[in-house]
Structures are given as C-alpha cells and as structure tokens.
Subunit: 301 residues, 2 copies
Amino acid sequence: MRKTKSFDLRSYMEAGKKEIEAGLDGYLPPETAYPESLHKSIRYSVFSGGKRFRPILCRASFEACGGKGTCIMPVACAIELVHTYSLIHDDLPCMDDDDLRRGIPTNHKVFGEAMAVLAGDALLTLAVDLLVREGAKVLGAERTIGVLEDLLHAIGSDGMVAGQVVDMESEGGGVGAETIEYIHSHKTAALIEASGRCGALVAEAGEILITHVSEYGRKLGLAFQITDDILDAEGSFGTLKAGVSLDKRKQKATYPDVFGLERSKQMAAHLVDEAKDSVADMGAGALPLLSMADLVIRRLF
Amino acid sequence: MRKTKSFDLRSYMEAGKKEIEAGLDGYLPPETAYPESLHKSIRYSVFSGGKRFRPILCRASFEACGGKGTCIMPVACAIELVHTYSLIHDDLPCMDDDDLRRGIPTNHKVFGEAMAVLAGDALLTLAVDLLVREGAKVLGAERTIGVLEDLLHAIGSDGMVAGQVVDMESEGGGVGAETIEYIHSHKTAALIEASGRCGALVAEAGEILITHVSEYGRKLGLAFQITDDILDAEGSFGTLKAGVSLDKRKQKATYPDVFGLERSKQMAAHLVDEAKDSVADMGAGALPLLSMADLVIRRLF
C-alpha cells in the first residue's frame, strides 16, 4: 500500500455526507406524504447512518474530471437511493435475513416484510425519477439518458442483481475463484464503478478520463467487498456489521474462503494500489479519489 | 353500458398480443444469459399467459393519437415489464401470498422467494433500461425523458406502490369509499392511465388529446379493478384468479364490500361509459380504445 499526499479526508467525507444528506432530504417525499408509513419506511433506511461513500465518490470523480457546481447532486443522490434499495431487499428474511444494519434494526424488522419489499421498490423508482426529473433539468435530456444507461446497466440482471443471484446460489461453499470474483464485481463493484463513471459522464469527460475513473471504481469496488469479507472473517462485527446473522453470513462465498485470509489482504491492497494508479495522472483534482481509496484498505489496519 | 361500433376486437387483441410478445422476447435477455436461473425466472413470469392489456392499450392510444410505426414498442413492452414486476412482488408470501397466477404456480413457488424478489427488481430495472436504450434510439432523448417522467410518477411512492401499501394496510376491512377509491386508482388504474398517456406522448399528441386518453385510462383502470373485485366476490375464480388464496383475498378491501355488489356493477359500467365518452370525439382511430373499454365490462356479463 502506497501513501497518498496529505489530504484531510475526514473533513472531506464529513462535509460530503452533510451535503448528500441535505440533497436526499430535499429530494425525497416528506414523512408526512401519504401513505406516511411508506415514506417513513423509506426515510428510515435512507437516513440510517450510511457513510455516503458512493455519492461522495461520484462527486469526487465529477470534480476530478473538471466538473463544477451542483449538477452532480441528483446523480449522486440517485446512486445512494439505489444503494439503499439494494440493502433493504438484501436484508429480507428470504435473502440474507439480517436483523440489524449499521447497528439498528433492519427495515423489515421495524416496518414488516411487505413494507420492506415495497420501500425497496419505491426507492428504485424514486432513484430513476430523481434523475429523470431533477437530473434532466440541470443536465439536459441527452446527458441524463447517458447517465441512466450506465447506471441501469450496473444494477440490472447483468449487474448488481446478477451478483446477488449468484451470491445467493453460492451459499454453502464450494465456490471457485472465478465465481467469487463475479459475485463481488457485480454485487458490489458494479455500483461503485458506476458511481465513478457517472461522475465523469456528468462532467462530460473524454473517453480517456472515463476509462480511468471506471478502472478506479471497478478495482476499488472489488477491494471494498474483499475487505468486508476479511473483516467478517476476522469477526470485526462490532465495527461494521453489528448484529449480522452470523450463521447466514458464514454460508456466504467469500474471498478468505477461496484464497485464505493473508492472500485476500494482499489482493485487496493490490487492487487499491491499482485503483490509485488508474487516476494517478489526473492531477491534484484526483486527490480525494486517491484518499478515498486509502480509506477502503485502511479499514484492515 | 352503450354499444360500440362493430370492431373485431378478438383479432385485434390476438394480433396485438403476438406482436407485444415478439417485442418482449426480443428485448429481454435470453434464458441462456448468465445467471440463467434469474433470466429463466424473469421469462417464466413475463411469458405466463398475460393478455397484454396494458401494452395493447398503450399502442391503441398511440395510434388513436395519430402515431404510426413501431416506435411505440419499447414503451409498450416496458409497461408490460413493470406490470410483471408488480405481479411477482404482489404474489410474495409477505404480500398477497398467492400460489397460482393465471392458472400456473407463481414465481416464488417455482424459483423461491429470494429469486422472486430479485426477478421483480431486475424487471423494473429492465423496463427503465428498455426505455433508456431502445426507446431513446427511436424517440430521442427528450421524448424518452417525458415518457419516463409519466411512467415513474404512475408507479412510484405516490402511484402504484402507494396503492399497494394502502391496500395492504386496509386488510381486514373497515375501509371507506375514499380509501378504496385511492387504493384502486393507485394500485391498478395509475399504470393503465399511464399506458394511455404514454401512447399519446409518444405520438406527440397535443394537450387536449393527452387529457382525453388520460381520462379514458383512469376511468377504465378503475373499472378494471372494480370488475376484478366483483368477479372475486362472485367466486368466478375459475376464469380469472384460479388458485388465488381465498382467505387472503377475502381480507382485501373491495368495492363490493364498501358499496355492495349491485352498486359496484353500476359504478363499473358507469366508469366504462365515462371512459368511452372521453375518447368518443377522437374519430375512427379510437375504435380499438372504445372496444377495449367494452371488454373490461363484458367480463361481468
């Protein structure tokens, strides 16, 4: 792992989180909107203490590609809504059956399973709606369609949902290197890669820059999921996955299962280095991206 | 109920069904696309014998508004994918808990609950993806964004999902006229209204025509759900809802519960007449719309 030039990542992430949350609050229907139960359920999960890693990465990529202003906000917030929808559905009893997420009860534990299914459905719809309505206003129709193409490809039946399916089908073990890479690339990395790419698309970056941030997002996203696996394997549930259903989690295919703990750590560190290499030539504007990459691997130390 | 000029609706619907199904087949990833289980699950529900009422209505509205050619196909097919996603999720054990739909086992009965959740998620994503990718090619970015705005509004947390939430929360009875109208307008009529409106939008119809077909869709959609309620109440499960979990269905808020059977029939017939009135001045091109309206009420006789 190489060091990154001094950069106050903590302040950057905190400021980013605040701005993203203000954006989300403004875009989402209020809790008082009918049916209140649905909007409460939606807001419960959206404002449940996420780090806003993906939307902050999206904006960092936008700025690294020369983008300025707030036109990235609908895109960044839509990505966070997609992420939240995926978490609510993943936590369902028929899926990962998790009782807690980020230290608080999961959506279906509070609002019931049916509402959790519907809140997830509504969030995916709201995410696209946000792009179509607010996004199109500031980006124009053409650019919005471009962003949508990219995002939808990342999260559909050849993207995030595909990763989830293969993950589910691989429970119980016996999974090889190719399959575990497929799962993590699709389940986790695809949306992180899209966060980077969409930032570049909104900034109207050229092909070369788009390739750089895509590569960055793909490598970093994979490293992100591998470090999650490692933390789970090492039992660091207190920090990250408080209350995760251990039995369920243990059946999941993970990098440490396939490659062992040490090799998984090396792979994660190597991927983070590769992610940083991808954007190393982008100048000072890419400092947040470099620093966010360090954040992913720092969780292990 | 007034009669409509002679029109061979049966041939029209059959031809429409064939064309829509060819479109769906072309747009959807093949069953052999990885992960095969997901794509099998998706195709199982999409090709499970639906009448294709919504996409045919969408195209009929498009043509009634002067639209020509096949540019309506991505929109019509996207609407059917949205409809299918909503059925898969509605049938889940935590929702309506239905074992059969259209006489065959529901998605989760065949593929399991987790896959049914994910197939629904993938279908909603694929529906938007179809509009963004194929729709934008033939309609251009501006028109596609317009269609998306309309469709998403109809199916989100203030549309179809909202109707589903209130429906679920109203189980057990004690529901008033206003609530049951809200449920049916949102759960069922919103997507049927959007089918009509989107047809008009793609045809680049003027405001007046758009209002006409919207009104038509709204009234007809409400009539559609009321006749469903009536058929359920009369126990015509053989025709329409073979294998529906009777207990569950009985707890649902319905028009016959609130207004009685006879008044519900009158209301449905009146709504169909109003729907037809809305498009009565649109000339010969609106014949399919008029005839499709008759189809809804004819189910009762």
